[in-house]
Symmetry: C2
Subunit: 189 residues, 2 copies
Amino acid sequence: MTIPILVTFSGGASGNWRVDDIRPVSGASLSMCARVWVQEDADTGPIDQAMWSLRGTTSNTRYTQRSEVTALNAVQQGLARPQATQAALIPIRKSKEWWALAQDERRAIFQEQSKHISIGMDYLPGVARRLHHCREMHEPFDFVTWFEYSPEDTAAFDEMLGRLRASIEWTYVEHEVDIRLTRIAHAAT
Amino acid sequence: MTIPILVTFSGGASGNWRVDDIRPVSGASLSMCARVWVQEDADTGPIDQAMWSLRGTTSNTRYTQRSEVTALNAVQQGLARPQATQAALIPIRKSKEWWALAQDERRAIFQEQSKHISIGMDYLPGVARRLHHCREMHEPFDFVTWFEYSPEDTAAFDEMLGRLRASIEWTYVEHEVDIRLTRIAHAAT
């Protein structure tokens, strides 16, 4: 686990990811735009022409236990694989009731009841992910997760989301937007 | 658990808390100054004349289980009690090794081995505290804890710190500063 990375996702006219679709899952949607720009550790803030901007930081594990970390590390792959041309950017906000739970109560719902870690494992190494926390940053969401996968893994990715959204954990999700993207040539802007 | 509060502690010439002492416990100290200004949810940033500034946000529990939350809530008291004229501001940074541990490994060191929660319980309700997280904010520390207690509880407070600093958890602390303060009249600046 390295130093936390601050990541800014800016929806607008520029960026290396073309927006294919923006769908509200729970609550209000975000405005449709042409591209998403992903900036790491940019202290300058969102780009000028952004229609919306989501920020978050990587962090340490919050629920994952050693045996699970070991199992995940044995199979998961990183971002930026050449064949992973598809991405999903999914911001989520959970309810006050979720955040009022104690650590052991959240862990029990997250894994023992909802199998969040186990479900994610079922789609490795195809679906790579990076979680960003933003609840403490006065952002409108608590988390922003970035997923990358190949076109052939799109159906599997949708199946994974369906299983997670049917879980008890998701009854605590009160705002969720699902943004799908395709990588374009790095030289394009 | 309410919405996270962003708190800024600014050391300089102004503020309602007089600085009695600043001692390095591990690593470098912070500059001596006359006062500390405590700002909640101030988007304007640190005050101009500050010699140093520490920021952090309150958050949800990270290790505390339901039975422990219930026990703590039964006895702990809030900040700003009239008799609690003494304060300590203690910023801490833990090592890379700590943050690379999985959730269950950190919990085991924190409570089962080091009795962090139990030790804190022994000094309630005399010593009130509020924890602020800043590891994800690119601050020089990971946490800033603010304690308030009465003059008669000063020896007990020092005993509590001694027990915590002798614990296994503290072998992961690589930077710690201990700032002691006394509240002055609210009208003073």
